[in-house]
Amino acid sequence: MKFGVVVFPGSNCDHDAWHAASRVAGHEAEFLWHGDRDLKSADCVILPGGFSYGDYLRCGAIAKFSPIMDAVKRHAEAGGLVLGICNGFQILTECGLLPGALVRNRGLKFICKPVRLRVETADSPFTCAYRRGQEVVIPIAHGEGCYVADERTLDELEAEDRVAFRYVENPNGSQRDIAGILNRQRNVLGMMPHPERAVEALLGSSDGLGVFDSLAHCFAQRTR
């Protein structure tokens, strides 16, 4: 399977995502320039962490107008896989591929630390290698990771089993401890924690590898 990692000018986890997908998980991976409209036949597009266009206005607010995002939207609408991590999650909510929004952390400070997450559903291409209810340790690193949505949306997300990850100890004030959500078709995942930072035991945790393993497994089944 092939990963495409979008490079916005201010992306800074693009190399990390590329490294995790290719060097560690062993898949093909290529960078996709924000000014292009070509996904280079990637099966899964990763919107990596960082500060897309500086994000001085609002995280991801400008990224949604970039040429590559047109292609990403079409890819998603056609059932293609899209994984938004951190800033990528913010961009997905800004461009409407996922509901809700990410606002400043409750404590108003940037937080970087490994956190415990609970896998809330194994029924998705991103989480099928995990067990439902499994606890994993994956780092967060964000200033604006507090997930908010109206009550109806939150109810809907839960009713439709679209909460992928929850914080065991909520670090940022996210509503209902939400750390990651799926779209209705379950082919788009946005999450604030960084699975690409948790793929090597030497760096503290390899729990994030499950996301890449899930994608590979699911992709193999799809194409079988």
Binding site: G10, N12, C13, F51, D55, F110, A141, L203
Partner: protein, 748 residues
Amino acid sequence: MSEITPEIVAAHQLTPDEYQRIVSILGREPNLTELGIFSVMWSEHCSYKSSRVHLKKLPTRGRYVVQGPGENAGIVTLGHDAEGNEWCVAFKIESHNHPSFIEPFQGAATGVGGILRDIFTMGARPIAVMDALRFGPLDDEKTGARNRRILDGVVHGIAHYGNCFGVPTVGGETMFEPSYSGNPLVNVFALGIARRDRIFYGRACGVGNPVIYVGAKTGRDGIHGATMASGEFTEESRQKRPNVQVGDPFMEKLLLEACLEAMQTGAVAGIQDMGAAGLTCSTCEMGSRAGTGIEIDLAFVPQREEGMTPYEIMLSESQERMLLVAHQGREQEVLGIFRKWGLDARIIGHVTGDGMMRVKNHGQVVAEIPARPLADEAPVYRRPWTKPLREAPLEAPPFASADLAADLVTLAGSQDLCNKRWIWEQYDYMVRTNTVAGPGADAAILRIKETGTMIAMALDGNGRYCYLDPREGARLIVAECARNLACAGAEPVGATNNLNFGNPERPEIMAQIVEAIEGMAEACEFFETPITGGNVSLYNETLGEAIFPTPVFGLVGVMPLLEPPGPGFRAAGRAIYLIGGIGEADETRMGGTQYAKWVLRQLWGLPPRLDMELEKRVHSAVREMVRAGAAESAHDVSDGGLAWCLAECSFPHGLGAQVELESDLRPELLLFHEGPSRVVVSTAKPEQVEEIAARHGAPALRIGTTGGAELAVANRGRELLRVRVEALKRHWAEALERWLHAGEEIHV
């Protein structure tokens, strides 16, 4: 052009003698623009005129050193990858002390930005930052609120810039002392990685080559920042806030990517960032290094504001700007790359063969100065020195502990020793996925993807030791950094320093500078840690009160890929060894310890005594124990002494220890003296530890066993202290926030 009066010369912080020198270099009177150019280049900050004669004493050569001082950063080699490419790291420390006092957030942010540019201007991608921070006490009745505000702003500024840029802040140290109340220190240590054959230098090579300006537009911010950093603070300093620049980390990130990409094309001949003294410094230094001249026309310089004078453009310290020289005929390739990254890039001039820095404005010459004398022939002062300033008594006051366990609790909750998590959790310390050991460890450890090896970095300073004895203090700092590296299993390869002192025109301050440099030089020679570059920050005084002499030392080491043991005890029932032995101590040498500071609230005597031979034997022994997997944990004894070291060993996994000592030292000294050359190791392989220690000639005292929920220490069978690890850990973990909110409680 208005005439240059003695008042104008004085306002530029130039002496009459310096002015005469300018006249003789030019063969005429300078105009105001030229005077401004000389004033920044000859400022203490840019010219090192007070320290230069002494900096020469520092060793700069070593078998790993690729580039020593004089460039934008020093470079050491890491060795080759599987394909035969040689990889190097470029690193340096810079200070941004003065701006951080005036405007903590932007001051610290642009401090990070400045040093990052120094790294990537060499062609190296920054992969790590560490910070040495010094503030006034957070609970001081008069200055506490301001000190808290400065700390908050500085930390926020570092986080803002580093996080957005995408470089991990992997460690550092934060200490508190009244002398930093009016003069906080913000020293940033940055490191990047580059292939040796792709290293770039700040040289304007090739007559006729175009000179390209790239990055942010030039504005009126930061004019005379370098001269500001070369003067003492007075009540008027606050009026200098417009001298502090405003940082844009996103712009810097664009510059990084665009510059690295442009360098790959082979179309770039030389490159230098515009930091202190902006366009002035970059043009004359690039010309001087290459033995060429540069001619630019300011009309082509992108400007943020209208009506800027040549003086203002040349002296502006607007951030996120680079100057590069492209090979003639290939400028379009370079400009194309900058356009791709959405950056403003303009050809503003060309390299000449006449050695002059010639500045035109719309074709009319506004400054014409020989580049080399301007860049390299600044006046050098051998300022007089006497005995180092110290007002502390030599003799120890009488002291006796009523409760040693309570003393340990006091240390755990002290501003210096408490957990700094509140600070470093605001930094992205993992981005780029190389961080094997991050903040809170003895040394930061990074995996190097390119070579399949690891590096370790340590950063240390101790103003208290250096105030009591600058020479011994500086030696101790070098020893401690090298010890930190040994605990990680790393071997030192190169170092950088940041020398923070008061006003060098005061002979007793100059004496601190001289002795500290000589002490550092001696230790660097001995521990084979050549200095490849650094920074000097003088005039750290406010209203006549100087900071404690604070040389800060940053050390880089190399090591094979291994899982480092870390400081914490990992399993119960393990033997605990004190490598290096109990060490020597007396009352006089207790005066600079954390115990004296926080428990006794006094300062006296001398710093601990360092036996460099023993220290080195301990390093080689511990390094081998770590690499051989004999040490399950390794943590050096430093601030807070043995008892505090044991407490820190017990925190990570909440695992206590029973320690039995055999010593004639009185309990306060035994537990809390800070004698160097000691490392606490826990092991499942005691025979191997003893064998390695013996082979290296390092004492290895078996002092106890890990396990239990308590840390208990006895001497000759008499219990000295017993504390519950969890309670002590909680107190330590929550202390900084308690101090930070100290002021708010009053209002509740």
